[in-house]
């Protein structure tokens, strides 16, 4: 528990990282350093996308599974990972 907490703190403190969000199985952000409305918005939207991506990967080969989905946009990079029903989201600006 503490290890994960530390890792998340390190990620948040890392250069260029705008924010992290941990979303639980019901779609509610349980830990974030962004404001609540943004977090909720990200959680809701990315949940659907991740489910769709996961479904695509597994449809091709059911023994395969999605680990990370990386969305590189003009302004920053969004990284989403589904795990155990939870969702971990990190937004980083890599070119700072």
């Amino acid at each position: 528990m503490a290890e994960v907490e530390e890792t998340l703190k390190r990620i948040e403190a890392h250069k260029g990282v705008i924010g992290t969000i941990v979303v639980n199985a019901e779609g509610i952000p349980i830990r974030t350093n962004l404001d609540n409305s943004t977090a909720v918005q990200y959680a809701g939207l990315l949940r659907h996308l991740t489910m769709l991506a996961r479904s695509t990967v597994r449809d091709i080969d059911p023994q395969n599974d999605l680990i990370v989905l990386r969305i590189r946009t003009k302004k920053y990079e969004i990284m989403v990972a589904p795990e155990n029903g939870f969702l971990l989201i990190v937004i980083q600006n890599p070119c700072e």
Partner: protein, 645 residues
């Protein structure tokens, strides 16, 4: 029949006779019968049979292929047919006829109209009434004219009463939630399989049911603790690496793809490209005392932290880094005393042997949780009395136990074995290899031969190197007067079985053939040499680090007298480089210094040269080539010696 007719005719004639008088006339063709025959009584049977119906109708039967008489013959005699024209008054046709008749009636009142004014007024009313009577009829007939629609009495419904029914589509109803995807099916199957396995296990483990229940209760408690982000543990690790990769993207790209193009112009020299820099906050005061790459996971390396300074002894640290994450170590083990040496087991890369400044040796297991070593030597089990300078894993012994050697300045070379004693594995001191009684050795370095298992070299603080054998524990096989100061490193060549290299604080690096007492090559590096290491890809390439912060890379195949690369890799001039190691597969080296930093550098192509193939010849590969290369060099050196001798 004929007689009937006859009689009938008779009676007929009889009537005719009445009208015309009684005159018996015999027709010409009348049968003449005797009186007896005339009196004969003949019975007449009245049947309903048709006398005209044929009695011998024959039909051809294809089944029996012959003509067969039909048994039943139609006996109906039609006497009179008249087609009737009667209609039921309520039937449709009748109504239609009436309507038609009504029309001419309707026109008639019109014709009568002009006549009515002609008739006297009294009649006019009657006629008008009649006309009126006719008119309603005509109106009715007119409305009747809009004939009632012919409808199917079984299957008709008014259009106005119909609702819009879309035709049933034969085909899939596309609704995302109803899609049965391949993976959903797969998941269900996997669940079923697991359930079946659980059932099997339950059947087997019936006596331990109570324990299961207890453990189940515990499990329940854990799960109801609520949102736990240990569940994203794995993902967070991956993310840390990804975030680092993004930040140090250019370094990662360089590591993978950059090849210094200017090497072509630089004749034979090469350069070192600095890549990641590894440092750990809590280890800032410590210096790097040992480096070791992991053979299995070639991006993982171990760093031992401690201090070489006699006066500054304190705690130490064992830290593991991965190239994938340069910001934070993968594993951290704080230790009580400074780490002086470490070695990762070549086959079981989760076992690490560590030697400490206080003379202890320990074995860490990366697979185990916890920060303590799995096995540690204590005063009872025979730890060294002086700092342990080198540890080295050996191949498993005959009982398949892991074992390693340690060397310390108390003069002992000790072999430790991990022995299974009553279900536990403990560290057992096996043999003291060299007894200090022979010589007061202050042994510092130890290296084992790769192929010849029993042969090893020890370097001492006095500057001598001794060749020893595991089997002859009381005597040295050979002694080399190598250096004037302490030997800092002794290493066998990974390819050539006879060659080893040594370096010392007397500023020199020497290469030896173990059969010859004098060095083959000597290099003066203008500063105390901290460490030297052979490269894993070539038998003639090696690198050395000095206390002035420079890395020297030599390739004997290219230049026998000078380094092909001399580069300062430290930020501050006062930092001393303490250790250097080549990565087993990637073209990078890691260099540790006395400030606790580990820097990774990429070797430029010139430093990794393979011998050029002559045109048309295939380039031979394999360790034999390397050995041959070295042998060629050595033979060149030997020949002048022989000539001189």
């Amino acid at each position: 029949m004929l007689q009937d007719e006859e009689e009938g005719v008779d009676t007929g004639d009889g009537w005719d006779e009445w009208s015309h008088g009684k005159a018996l006339t015999k027709p010409a063709d009348q049968l003449e019968l005797t009186e007896a025959e005339l009196k004969e009584e003949i019975t007449r049977i009245l049947t309903a049979n048709n006398p005209h119906a044929p009695q011998n109708i024959v039909r051809y039967s294809f089944k029996e292929r012959s003509y067969k008489p039909t048994s039943v013959v139609d006996q109906m005699a039609v006497h009179f047919v008249l087609e009737g024209s009667l209609l039921h008054q309520d039937s449709d046709e009748a109504r239609r006829l009436r309507a038609k008749e009504g029309l001419p009636e309707g026109t008639e009142p019109d014709e009568e109209k002009p006549e009515t004014p002609a008739t006297p007024v009294e009649d006019g009313g009657e006629v008008e009434e009649a006309g009126e009577e006719d008119r309603p009829d005509s109106v009715a007939s007119k409305t009747d004219k809009k004939e009632p629609k012919l409808t199917n009495q079984f299957n008709f419904s008014e259009r106005a009463s119909q609702t819009l029914n879309n035709p049933l589509r034969v085909g899939r109803i596309c609704n995302n939630t109803l899609f049965s995807l391949q993976w959903e099916i797969y998941d269900v199957y996997v669940e079923e399989l697991q359930k079946q396995e659980k059932n099997k296990e339950k059947q087997k483990a019936i006596p331990s049911k109570k324990d299961n229940e207890k453990s189940k209760k515990k499990m329940m408690l854990m799960e109801t603790q609520g949102d736990d982000f240990t569940k994203v543990g794995k993902a967070s690790k991956i993310f840390e690496r990804m975030v680092n990769q993004n930040t140090f993207d250019d370094i990662a790209q360089d590591f993978k793809y950059f090849e210094d193009a200017s090497d072509e112009f630089r004749d034979q020299e090469g350069t070192l490209l600095p890549l990641w820099k590894f440092q750990y906050d809590k280890a800032k005061r410590l210096s790097v005392t040992a480096l070791c790459w992991n053979n299995k996971y070639q991006d993982l390396f171990a760093v031992g932290m401690g201090s070489y300074d006699f006066s500054k002894q304190g705690r130490g640290m064992l830290v593991f880094y991965s190239l994938k994450n340069s910001a934070f170590p993968e594993y951290i083990y704080p230790t009580n005393s400074g780490v002086l040496c470490l070695h990762i087991h070549e086959q079981h890369s989760h076992l690490i042997a560590v030697g400490f400044y206080d003379g202890c040796v320990a074995v860490y297991n990366l697979k185990e949780e916890g920060l303590e070593p799995v096995y540690k030597s204590t005063a009872k089990t025979g730890k060294h009395t002086d700092p342990v300078w080198q540890v080295r894993w050996q191949n498993d012994d005959m009982d398949n136990n892991h074992n390693f050697y340690s060397v310390s300045s108390d003069g002992r070379v000790v072999s430790w074995t991990l022995v299974k004693v009553s279900q536990e594995i403990i560290l057992v001191l096996y043999t003291d290899i060299l007894l200090a009684s022979i010589l007061i050795l202050v042994v510092q370095r130890l290296t084992f031969h790769k192929q010849i298992d029993y042969l090893f070299l020890v370097g001492t603080e006095e500057g001598k190197i001794h060749k020893c054998s595991k089997t002859y524990s009381s005597q040295f096989l050979e002694t080399y007067n190598a250096h004037s100061m302490a030997v800092d490193a002794v290493k066998w060549n990974p390819f050539h079985p006879k060659v080893f290299i040594s370096c010392s604080s007397d500023w020199t690096v020497k290469i030896w053939d173990h059969t010859i007492n004098t060095p083959m090559f000597t290099f003066d590096l203008n500063a105390a040499v901290g460490d030297v290491s052979w490269s894993p890809y070539s038998s003639t390439v090696f690198a050395a680090v000095t206390t002035d912060g420079t890395v020297h890379v030599f390739d004997l195949n290219i230049n026998k007298y000078e380094a092909i690369c001399q580069q300062s890799v430290v930020a501050k001039k006062k930092t001393k480089l303490t250790h250097i190691e080549f990565n087993p597969i990637y073209p990078i080296i890691i260099v540790g210094d006395d400030r606790g930093y580990v820097t990774s550098l990429k070797l430029s192509p010139n430093l990794r040269k393979k011998p050029k193939a002559k045109k048309g010849q295939e380039l031979p590969k394999g360790p034999e080539v390397e050995i041959a290369k070295m042998e060629k060099l050595l033979s060149l050196l030997r020949e002048p010696e022989q000539n001189a001798v």
